[in-house]
Amino acid sequence: MTETMTTQPAAATQRQNDGTTIDITDLTCTFTSRRKRTTALTGVSLSVRAGEFVSIVGPSGCGKSTLLKIVAGLVPPSSGEVRLLGRTVTGPQREIGFAFQRAALLEWRGVRANILLQAEMRAMDKRKAAARADQLIELTGLTGFENALPHELSGGMQQRVALCRALLHEPPVLLMDEPFGALDALTREHMNVELHRIWRETGTTVVLVTHSIAEAVYLGQRVVVMTPRPGRIERVYDVDLPAVRDYGATMSSPTFEKLAREIRVLLGASGHHG
């Protein structure tokens, strides 16, 4: 099982060579409704290397979700450009996996069927998809719940299903928007450890938006801190921790504590808490 998991998706391996998976240049996004104009993002530039794990933190409403949606091609930017896997993003992107704060599962489908939605929508090979779903179910500890309906699952398990669904097609890029925001602290830690392992084993490029500084630092190779609206990138920290991170050891390491404190101060200084 682990063997298949460690083999990187072909697309990712190819693009590994040219280095950059996501290239965001001078992005601005303004929403105009009848009543007002909201500038969600201004002058955002960021490059994400292939296989990199980037965390984004920032106060509520600073445009984190908007940024992910622009990268996914779900929201058009007002100006600026996003290149994903070397191509300019103009519409919804298929080569990504997306996970939201709410699991967004189909209420009427069991765990396995929910995961396989990805395969049905993409018209993937049925047998391959089924095998992959089984792998993911095992990897995320959902074995025994294959047919359980979402309302029969805990919040943590629902998020695991959403994660499996986002990973089913072995996307080279995984975009996650506060995926563990609704979980209790303990479940969240478990999910962090799991996501870390999945990232290492799959080599997927991950962009994770989070409210939790600890989560951002534990998981990220870099942490992007954004300013309140209109959202800009305030600072980008390199996380000077080993690639393979044990949760307990990381949490108590001085490097982790120093960085987390710095980020907390930076976010606090900008007046809001995310």
Partner: protein, 296 residues
């Protein structure tokens, strides 16, 4: 004076009410069948008790001869009427059932199509919604005579009236259901490269079903009203027609028997839609019975 009413010239071709079908019961394990029967019993005893009490009250009033018998018949008279005139009543019940069911099914299909058009096309929404609202607020009794002039005494005008009355709740609930789709699911679907049709079939439509079925339950009871109103205005068969004749002849036993059949028709059709609901959306919060598998 039931002879006044055209006596049952031909025997009822069909049973008066569609037999309550529970297609899935056959392959249920025994325990679940028993469970189901138990649930049915526990659901049925209260209304049954109420019915018995009402019947007793009715019987007491007629026994005390508060009203003359030609105004309020005794339960016995009505029961007798239901038995002796069963062939005639069965035939007319069948006519009304047929009109109601056809009208309801048409309303369900047309209503859902209209809902889809409204949700998917803002232009059509602007064009259709005023029209649909207009069709809804127009008093149906007022258009019934026109329909009879246009389509004659057959089932057609009744079916059309049933459709007109039952259509609105289907559209409204269908639109609400289709609009209630989680926008994140639609975003997700877009990143999966799914076509509109696939998104509709696998996400939007199943998601709309709970709303839609709530609308259909309202619609089916309204369809009965539509058919009966149509029969009032111009018909030579159906429960509405029997009601008019019975009241013209001051035949209160027949009148009450007819009323009972009309209500029974509405109740049976409602229960059938509920059964469809149980089959189609067992997963929905409104129909859950199980306990969570996990707690944390």
């Amino acid at each position: 004076m039931p002879e006044v009413i055209s006596p049952a010239a031909r025997p009822a071709a069909e049973p008066p009410e569609p037999a309550a079908t529970t297609p899935d019961d056959a392959d249920l394990p025994k325990s679940r069948l028993a469970q189901r029967a138990g649930r049915l019993l526990s659901a049925a005893w209260r209304p049954a008790l109420l019915l018995v009490l009402l019947g007793l009250g009715w019987w007491a009033i007629t026994a005390a001869e508060v009203f003359p018998a030609y105004l309020v018949p005794t339960p016995g008279d009505v029961a007798n009427e239901l038995v002796t005139e069963r062939e005639m009543l069965a035939r007319h019940t069948w006519v009304t059932t047929y009109e109601t069911v056809v009208g309801f099914l048409l309303a369900a299909v047309i209503g859902m199509l209209a809902a889809v058009l409204i949700v998917y096309s803002p232009t059509l929404e602007k064009a259709l919604y005023p029209l649909i609202l207009f069709a809804q607020v127009i008093p149906k009794i007022a258009i019934a005579p026109i329909l009879v002039v246009w389509f004659g005494f057959g089932p057609m005008p009744k079916v059309i009236l049933a459709v007109l009355i039952a259509f609105f709740p289907v559209v409204v609930s269908g639109v609400a259901g289709l609009r209630s789709t989680d926008p994140e699911l639609l975003d997700l679907s877009a990143t999966m490269g799914a076509s509109r049709w696939k998104t509709f079939r696998k996400i939007r439509f199943p998601n709309a079903l709970p709303h839609l079925l709530a609308g259909l339950k309202v619609a089916v009871t309204l369809a009965v009203v539509g058919a009966v109103v149509g029969e009032f205005v111009g018909a030579d068969e159906g429960l509405g027609y029997v009601l008019l004749l019975a009241s013209g002849n001051l035949n209160s036993s027949l009148l009450f028997a007819d009323l009972i059949l009309m209500s029974a028709l509405g109740v049976v059709l409602f229960i059938l839609v509920e059964a469809a609901e149980a089959l189609l959306i067992p997963w929905h919060a409104s129909r859950r019975q199980g306990v969570p598998l996990t707690t944390s």
